[in-house]
């Protein structure tokens, strides 16, 4: 199958406008007749549900949590980018576009990224109009801060709770549409299968997590905004419920999975401290605006940080990357921390940590200013570690944080299954091999507020959709398949819990498919995962029944899918014989240990097609063409 990205013709700056003009419109009177299912109520799904309903479509929205307001997006801390240039520091749509393409190590689509930069400004306007309490300057204007990979200050924020405030904005708009009867909301529902009829996405099967019943819902289009799969690693900064299950079910029904090995490992997280640990906590990248990263110069230095004199500290980021200093992109900062720890210069009990020090910033700006900017983060740090970051430097280490990979989508955000649109972190679209900070919130809201409302119209206006409902035989087939899998999970009655398997999978992925990869390691991981999956299906212990509220059953289902995606991640990493962004294969590096791309052979998106339980997926390539930026070795010096 030839992948057609459907990028419109014309100059980069005019593509989106042209495309919007060329897209067919749905007659306003007909919109009500079209049913659209939205899975997910994070920034992407919440904003899409609200906007589609405002346009008049008949929307059904689903989420796992008890309320749409609790989607994982709520946890985003640092901020959202936009090319407003309010600081007059030389920002522009072009610069945001360029920074994002470069930050992604030239593995994203120019046209998508440019559109993202274009609509970024509309997002801020929309959110302000919704009453999002962004930080303000004394004069009442919107305030900005800096994030990694940029030399301009373009990040808008609401303390360390930006995701919460943006999500509550979208949730408010969604609530308004629910009250108006344009959206029907289904909470505590887990999507377990996509129903495809005549090659088109026409509905979903969900499990009602309270009653345990399986339910069928038919529609004319399905929007998947189910978030990222970082939890495959077991420990990550993602919410506990974040999963790959909805995306994986769609993959099994024919949606290609793009760049699955592109996982972002975030440099500033609270280090792992024990085996029972259930998740990792991010310390927002915004902290790198004012915090300085360092390790002791002498490996094994055991003195407490405050007793190590300046001369014996290694501010390795400032040293190596004077241009960007502590604000280098995430992949670079993470790998640098690993390199320091590998040299024995790590700190703390486990020696797997580096310092993030605010002493100089507090001296310069005063404690109050720092508290206003980061108060809630400092408080969170203290709650977890019982240490006070105003007085002693934070200890941080990289952790899995975001997945750039996701379901493949074209310029319209439609997957390889017609009628299945994929938004937000669940798609692969805009971040290439590394996402810049504060751009996931931007992308989720761009997809939901400003892109899909148009492109779905274009699809519905020209698709010839047979009239179907939940009685169609494909719904029965999906239903039976899902039911059989639940029965199977419950009937194994083995000796290990799903979490136990999940922990082991996490170790494998972190060790062999994490910050540094080697072909031997990846080959080994592939075997280990296949073996673990086999054991899982022989020896998992779930307990309880399917006809009740059963969190152990929910977990088992998620873990089964993580085992599957884990293998696809490894296969993808093996196939990419270069290093780029987050994908650092030891065999491909520059003399200065930076990722060495191979633009000749790997300037493409890798898209994987499901070929059945016991086969490896089939590889498809979408070549990336760069007409507006020159491919260069990234430099942050």
């Amino acid at each position: 199958m030839q992948l057609d990205s459907k990028i419109p013709d014309g100059p980069l700056t005019e593509k989106w406008d042209r495309h919007r003009f060329e897209l067919k419109l749905v007659n306003p009177a007909n919109k009500r007749k079209f049913k659209i299912i939205v899975v997910g109520t994070g920034l992407a799904g919440g904003s899409a549900s609200a906007s589609l309903a405002e346009l008049g479509y008949n929307v059904k929205t689903f989420c796992i949590q008890d309320s749409p307001r609790r989607a994982h997006s709520i946890a985003a801390q640092g901020g959202i980018n936009a090319a407003k240039n309010y600081q007059n520091d030389g920002d522009s749509i072009w610069r945001l576009f360029y920074d994002t393409v470069k930050g992604g190590d030239f593995r994203s689509r120019e046209a998508n990224v440019y559109r993202l930069a274009q609509v970024s400004n509309n997002i801020i306007d929309q959110c302000v109009a919704q009453g999002v309490p962004f930080a303000r300057e004394y004069g009442g204007q919107l305030a900005n801060r800096s994030f990694g990979g940029a030399q301009v200050s373009r990040t808008f924020y609401a303390r360390g709770q930006t995701g919460q405030q943006l999500l509550l904005g979208a949730y408010g708009s969604l609530s308004r549409q629910i009250a108006a009867g344009n959206v029907r909301l289904f909470t505590r529902r887990e999507m377990l299968d996509l129903v495809v009829i005549d090659g088109k996405a026409r509905g979903i099967i969900v499990r009602n997590l309270v009653s345990g019943e399986l339910e069928k819902y038919a529609a004319d289009a399905v929007v998947l905004a189910s978030g990222g799969y970082g939890n495959a690693f077991y420990l990550s900064t993602m919410a506990m419920g974040s999963n790959v299950s909805a995306a994986f079910a769609s993959y099994k029904k024919g949606a290609f999975f793009a760049n699955p090995c592109f996982t972002q490992i975030h440099p500033t997280c609270i280090p792992v401290h024990s085996t029972y640990q259930s998740k990792l906590t991010l310390m927002s990248e915004s902290l790198r605006n004012d915090g300085r990263v360092w390790v002791p110069k002498n490996p094994g230095d055991k003195r407490p940080p405050n007793q190590i004199p300046e001369a014996e500290r290694d501010y390795y980021l400032e040293e190596k990357y004077p241009g960007f200093g502590n604000l280098v992109p995430r992949d670079v900062a993470s790998r640098s921390a690993k390199v320091q720890c590998d040299m024995g210069k790590g700190v703390g009990d486990t020696k797997l940590a580096v310092y993030l020090d605010f002493k100089d910033a507090i001296k310069r700006d005063g404690r109050d200013v720092i508290a206003m900017k980061y108060g809630n983060l400092f408080q969170m740090y203290e709650k977890i570690t019982a240490e006070n970051p105003y007085e002693t430097p934070m200890m941080i280490y990289p952790a899995v944080h975001y997945t750039m990979g996701g379901l493949w989508v074209d310029y319209n955000l439609m997957s390889t299954i017609p009628g299945l649109f994929v938004l937000g972190e669940a798609n692969f679209s805009d971040h290439g091999a590394n996402r810049l900070g504060a751009s996931a919130l931007m992308q989720g809201l761009a997809d939901g507020y400003f892109i899909t409302p148009y492109t779905i119209g274009g699809y519905l206006a020209q698709a010839s959709l047979e009239k179907i409902d939940e009685n169609h035989k494909e719904f029965d087939a999906s239903f039976l398949k899902v039911e059989a899998r639940i029965k199977k999970l419950l009937s194994i009655e083995g000796k290990r819990t799903a979490d136990d398997f999940h922990r082991e999978l996490g170790h494998i992925l972190w060790e062999y498919c994490g910050m540094e990869r080697k072909d031997e390691g990846l080959l080994k991981a592939k075997e280990l995962i296949a073996d673990l999956r086999e054991k899982f299906w022989e020896n998992v212990l779930v307990g309880g029944s399917g006809q009740e509220f059963n969190q152990s059953l929910e977990r088992a289902g998620l873990v089964a899918d993580f085992l599957d995606i884990g293998e696809v991640m490894v296969i993808d990493a093996l196939a990419r014989k270069e290093s780029c962004g987050c994908h650092f294969n030891e065999a491909f590096q520059t003399e200065e240990n930076e990722a060495l791309r191979d633009d000749e052979n790997f300037c493409h998106v890798s898209a994987w097609e499901y070929k059945g339980e016991s086969c490896d997926p089939a590889f498809h390539k979408e070549p990336l063409e760069f007409e507006n930026v020159k491919l260069t070795q990234r430099s942050y010096k």
């Binding site: 949590q65 994982h72 405030q165 979490d499």
Partner: protein, 255 residues
């Protein structure tokens, strides 16, 4: 109090409310939690207890949680009679076992309120909060056509105050802590956020009437100035917001 890094362990007795579903009667059951590391969070302690229960063929304790960072508002339970446990300004997921001592008995119950039915064990149905927001907890603005973000300046102190109110995570602890199961702090926080911001003014009256009306309709109690809500709120939302809501409501009534 032990410090992080001390690998000290404690043994606890847990008295946990077990209830199969919303229509069946519940009761307390007692469990032993052994070798609990004081570095664990409360929910990690429950994870370990649950793993053991699964392995020994028992029904694990159902509890709601997601972010485990104190921001999503999903977790929550009464711990020894305190909503989210004994620490001030802390959600249950952010409560660490270093605040307990060896040999303690810990009583764990779900939120109890007429408007929040128990779903299972510690899990409750808080959809009433969503309904209060649906009644008017938003600014009615469609996508498209918003003016430039800087077109309406908002003084910094106003933005900060609005943010203080907007920090509510919708966890329901205020309702659980209130002797009258009132939802005034939750509702007041949302009404205040929009009453403070210029963007919220056009609908201020309508919003106050609709949200307060919905709150009453859903069976939440009245505020009798007990101030328990403010004490137990993990985000330390101020009861000033209740006063502001009352003013908004009165203003709206006299229009």
């Amino acid at each position: 109090m032990t410090k992080a890094g001390d690998k000290s362990c404690i043994n606890l007795k847990l008295k946990v409310w077990r209830q199969k579903g919303s229509d069946v009667k519940g009761r307390f059951e007692t469990y032993e939690a052994r070798n609990v590391s004081t570095d664990m969070s409360f929910l990690e302690m429950l994870d370990v207890v649950n793993e053991e229960m699964i392995l020994s063929g028992k029904d694990p304790i159902a509890f709601d949680h997601d972010c485990r960072e104190g921001i999503c508002g999903t977790c929550g339970a009464m711990v020894n009679g305190r909503a989210h446990g004994p620490e001030k300004g802390t959600t249950l997921c952010q409560l660490h076992m270093r605040h307990f001592s060896n040999g303690d008995t810990v009583v764990i119950e779900p939120w109890r309120s007429r408007a929040f039915k128990v779903v299972k064990d510690l899990v409750v149905d808080r959809s009433a909060f969503d309904k209060i927001i649906q009644a008017g907890g938003y600014i009615s603005v469609n996508v498209g056509g918003a003016p430039d973000g800087n077109a309406i300046p908002v003084p910094q102190e106003v933005a900060e105050k609005a943010m203080d109110a907007a920090a509510c995570i919708g966890c329901g602890a205020c309702v659980a802590a209130c002797p009258n199961a009132s939802a005034m702090l939750f509702t007041g926080a949302k009404i205040s956020q929009f009453a403070l911001l210029p963007q919220g003014l056009p609908e201020a009256k309508k919003r106050a009437l609709a949200m307060v009306g919905k709150m009453d309709e859903l069976g939440f109690g009245n505020c009798a100035n007990e101030t328990e809500c403010e004490k137990e709120c993990p985000k330390e939302i101020s009861i000033e917001n209740i006063a502001r809501m009352n003013r908004e409501f009165l203003k709206a009534g006299f229009l």
